[in-house]
């Protein structure tokens, strides 16, 4: 057997890193708003953030495809702005992944923010920290465990997910064919040996990454009792 092509793995890692990065930032904003708001809209927004999970990935991918394609509103804008289509492009699968993994980032962050409460932010404000400064320098390190959870769930889920990415991205080698699609295709085309190798590699690699992350978290503990 040949050595499997490393391309899909790099693509997956890029996708997962970018998706995780975007979601940690955007998810933070949304989670922070949700944790602090007294708006009557809060339960509605909370429900909406969980909705992407409810649809089967392929089906969600289908709707995203419709929205992002040049016939759709978003795809049209993108095409006019960049001259390229959003569907079947790396940018497109990033958007798909971000949308689909949104709950994995928002929910743990919100839960952590709410559990920590406003006390530390108040203390920081009394030391002249602006809300943004206080958030960055106090709230987020205290919420480290929540960030870890959000990052791990988002990252792992983006690595493993393929329904949305396949639909929106079209499995184009080098552009949108990520490792999960590659493995999926090996199984579908009954090339089990290749599937085993890739799966084992992916599992071992992910395991090592995760162990490293968790071990670091243990060495620099955040807020513990």
């Amino acid at each position: 057997m040949d050595l499997p092509d490393a391309g899909p793995l790099w693509l997956s890692l890029r996708l997962a890193f970018i998706t995780t990065a975007i979601l940690l930032v955007a998810g933070t904003a949304l989670a922070w708003w949700l944790a602090g708001t007294r708006s009557r809209l809060k339960p509605l927004v909370e429900a909406v953030t969980a909705l992407p999970l409810v649809l089967p990935p392929t089906v969600l991918g289908f709707y995203l495809l419709v929205v992002l394609s040049p016939n759709g509103p978003v795809g049209r804008l993108w095409l006019d702005a960049t001259g390229t289509t959003l569907t079947f492009s790396f940018a497109g699968i990033v958007i798909g992944s971000v949308f689909y993994s949104l709950p994995f980032a928002v929910q743990p962050l919100q839960a952590t923010f709410e559990t920590i409460g406003r006390g530390p932010m108040e203390a920081a404000a009394m030391l002249r920290a602006t809300p943004f400064d206080a958030f960055v320098s106090v709230m987020s390190p205290m919420a480290l465990r929540g960030y870890l959870t959000a990052a791990v769930l988002t990252f792992a889920h983006t690595i493993g997910e393929f329904g949305v990415v396949l639909m929106v991205g079209g499995s184009i080698p080098g552009r949108t064919k990520v490792i999960s699609i590659a493995i999926y295709e090996h199984v579908e085309t009954i090339d089990y040996a290749a599937a085993h190798v890739l799966s084992a590699g992916l599992l071992v690699f992910s395991f090592l990454v995760l162990v490293f992350v968790y071990a670091m978290n243990r060495r620099f503990p955040g807020h513990r009792g």
């Binding site: 006390g119 530390p120 108040e122 203390a123 920081a124 404000a125 009394m126 030391l127 002249r128 920290a129 602006t130 809300p131 400064d133 206080a134 320098s137 106090v138 390190p141 205290m142 480290l144 955040g222 807020h223 513990r224 009792g225």
Partner: protein, 380 residues
């Protein structure tokens, strides 16, 4: 002036206070548990979104109706009742956090090391905050707040968790804050001894309302305050001039109302004018000059006023020692036995040992309004 006129309503509790805090010295906010002290501080700091009314700091409007200036722009320091250290930083990290965000105060530098040594934080610097004792936590919190160089310090029972010696070590530093930093302090406490040692003025809260205000001793001497407020500690403050020291016996002689009084030695030069607190319960009266008693201070005095407290054993006597007013707390029985009436000539007996280190009142840092003059003011 910090002028407030605010209302805050909780289910079952209603705070409504209007007051003008001079921006100088230390004002004690005193009152029983649950009377609204912490709530009032939170409103001043801008942390309570539900308060209404106005808060004005010198020329700045901090709150008008429900429009509030953001808390972090007010430049107030807040020592919380529960410390609120940042658990992800060690002790040094907590201190540096504040230091980095401080506004420079030209001329009056007061650095990290000064705070560390003043509060004896050296051995704690590398500690996780989770590994601190209750008192240690509170000391770090005070240090952190100091290092942020606030324009106004709000302190919520900062010493409740500290032992007497540590308290004694820290109190002078707090007492000197207004001088050293030009930073006025509003100091919440339910400990009357902290009030008497620290504060120039006090505001008494009771069930959400201001029930008394003014110089500490005036307030403490008021007969209409509930006895638990600290009757036991009540007294009078007399202006006294240091005449000299008796190094052999470790005594200091002072002149009060033209007469001489002795107390345990204090380290102040001759001629200094001090304010001396004399507790009413440490003053006895006699109709003839006693002899051969260990009580060294026997002052000639005149009874001005007698207030017997019904249903109790006590009476409080206002006397004049050469024009200086002091208070004596006797049993009603003794008042009768000695036949005291206003105008009686008496001898006031004051034990020298009754003057502990609380007896000397910091020579009030002036009630002058500090606006624009203090080094900490002038920025938003």
């Amino acid at each position: 002036m910090l002028t407030i006129d605010i209302r805050r309503r909780f289910a079952g509790f209603h705070l409504e206070v209007a007051h003008a805090f001079p921006l100088g010295g230390i004002t004690a906010l005193f009152g029983p548990s649950g009377c609204g002290k912490s709530t009032l501080l939170r409103v001043i700091a801008g942390l309570d979104a539900g308060a209404e009314g106005s808060v004005r700091f010198g020329g700045e409007a901090w709150q008008e109706g429900r429009r509030r200036l953001a808390p972090h722009r007010r430049g107030v320091g807040y020592v919380f009742q529960e410390a609120r250290l940042f658990p992800h930083l060690d002790v040094a990290g907590n201190l540096r956090y504040a230091e980095r965000r401080a506004r420079a105060v030209p001329g009056r530098a007061f650095g990290f090391d000064d705070v560390v040594s003043a509060l004896d934080l050296g051995p704690l610097l590398a500690r996780r905050t989770g590994a601190l004792s209750g008192g240690e936590r509170q000391r770090v919190s005070i240090g952190r707040t100091l290092l942020a160089r606030p324009r106004l310090m709000l302190m919520d029972e900062p010493l409740a968790a500290l032992d007497m010696r540590r308290k004694a070590g820290i109190l002078p530093h707090i007492a000197r804050l207004p001088e050293v930093f030009g930073v006025p302090v509003i100091y919440v406490t339910h400990a009357i001894d902290e009030v008497t040692q620290l504060a120039d003025r006090m505001v008494v809260l009771s069930d959400g309302r201001k029930t008394a205000e003014g110089p500490v001793d005036d307030v403490l001497a008021r007969l209409d305050l509930p006895p638990a407020t600290g009757r036991f500690e009540a007294g009078a403050v007399a202006e006294a001039r240091i005449l000299g020291h008796d190094r052999g016996w470790n005594l200091t002689r002072l002149e009060v109302g033209g007469q001489v009084l002795e107390m345990p030695e204090v380290d102040l030069p001759e001629g200094t004018v001090v304010r001396l607190r004399v507790r009413a319960r440490d003053v006895s009266l006699a109709t003839e000059r006693p002899r051969g008693v260990s009580i060294r201070n026997i002052l000639e005095a005149t009874v001005l006023e007698i207030a017997a407290e019904a249903q109790t054993a006590f009476a409080e006597i206002l006397i004049s020692v050469g024009g200086v007013r002091l208070r004596a707390r006797l049993t009603r029985a003794s008042v009768a036995d000695l036949g005291l009436t206003p105008g009686s000539a008496v001898f006031a007996l004051i034990k020298s040992v009754s003057f502990d280190r609380r007896a000397l009142v910091p020579a009030g840092t002036g009630e002058a309004d500090g606006e624009g003059t203090g080094p900490g003011t002038g920025h938003p």
